[in-house]
């Protein structure tokens, strides 16, 4: 499954990184603490968060995450969008609350576990 499949299935808004939507997604991770994502996020994870600060982009880049989904209709800050463009990080947004969004991602076949 790649990011484009996820975007199409869940009706996500692409905020940045539209030319990298062919990136493969290996699993998912949910957290609003960036220290936690730095510790536990894995390469290829799709990260679900309500944080909109520009540090999300650095964390996604550092960990080689597939992309970020901002939940609850929150909007990324202007410098977050700029940084996502520079770092070529895919930044997506959803109106759904995190629980609902993660449930739908799980139904698509994404898991938080790695075998």
């Amino acid at each position: 499954m790649n990011l484009n499949d996820v975007v199409q299935n869940l009706g996500l808004e692409v905020k940045a990184g539209s030319d990298a939507l062919d990136t493969e997604v290996n699993g998912g991770y949910v957290s609003d603490l960036m220290s936690d994502v730095i510790a536990h996020g894995r390469e290829g994870d799709l990260w679900v968060t309500l944080q909109t600060h520009q540090n999300t982009i650095a964390v996604a880049s550092l960990k080689g995450l597939a992309g970020i989904i901002i939940v609850n209709g929150r909007q990324p800050e202007a410098d977050t969008l700029t940084k996502a463009g520079v770092e070529n990080v895919v930044l997506l947004a959803s109106e759904l609350p995190a629980f609902e969004l993660v449930g739908r991602l799980y139904k698509l076949g994404l898991s938080g576990m790695r075998t």
Partner: protein, 216 residues
């Protein structure tokens, strides 16, 4: 904690300057300043603002109007009402420790202001902006944002333990107690070389200007 107890403990522990920084409020600053009159203790007015990222940032000000103005902005961007049974009473006292008001706002909550906005709001009013308790696992810029954004413009970072967190070299580190009870006052402190115990002088020390500095 009554203003008198705050001043007594601070003087008893040999502190010369303290900053009173309630969470999302500065309504007890006036009483603390009044209680410290003629004691030799300098009380600086401050506020610990909770940003939308749930990062705590200290704003410390010389000027009472400035801190009032910052408090107005915080209140405009803070939702909810306090539940005293769950979170406790939020008392406003005068310098004699008499309760003169109860703050009904949900002061424990987070504002809708970003950390970038909070630092700017503090600086626009002449205050110093310090990242609170960066050695803690919650409500610190490190726990919430992973690392300190380079262009944030903080004046310093507060450490409340003996830990040595991994911080940018150019960022001044202060040690302080983050005291929430009288017995915690002065558990940690920072020695500054200043002309006077004033916010502008502390700012110079944090940025190592004109000989002002933090002493080891």
């Amino acid at each position: 904690m009554s203003p008198a107890a705050l001043v007594r403990e601070s003087c008893g522990r040999g502190l010369q300057v303290i900053a009173v920084c309630d969470h999302n409020s500065a309504e007890n600053v006036k009483a603390a300043k009044a209680a410290a009159e003629n004691t030799g203790l300098a009380v600086l007015g401050g506020i610990e603002i909770c940003t939308r990222e749930e990062v705590h940032v200290l704003g410390i000000f010389e000027d009472d109007h400035a801190i009032g103005s910052v408090q107005d902005v915080v209140y405009e961007n803070l939702n909810g009402e306090n539940d005293p049974e769950t979170f406790g009473e939020q008392l406003v006292m005068n310098e004699r420790g008499e309760v003169v008001g109860r703050n009904k706002r949900l002061l424990i909550g987070a504002t809708s202001l970003s950390i970038t906005e909070v630092v700017r709001i503090i600086h626009d009013r002449g205050g110093i902006a310090i990242a609170s308790h960066v050695d803690r696992p919650s409500f610190s810029v490190i726990s919430q944002l992973g690392f300190i954004p380079a262009d944030l413009g903080l004046d310093g970072a507060e450490v409340c333990s003996d830990a040595l967190p991994d911080l940018p070299k150019e960022l001044a580190v202060i040690r302080s107690s983050d005291a929430h009870r009288p017995e915690e006052i002065g558990k940690r402190h920072t020695r500054f070389l200043l002309e006077k115990p004033m916010v502008a002088e502390i700012k110079m020390a944090l940025h190592r200007i004109d000989g002002r500095r933090i002493l080891a």
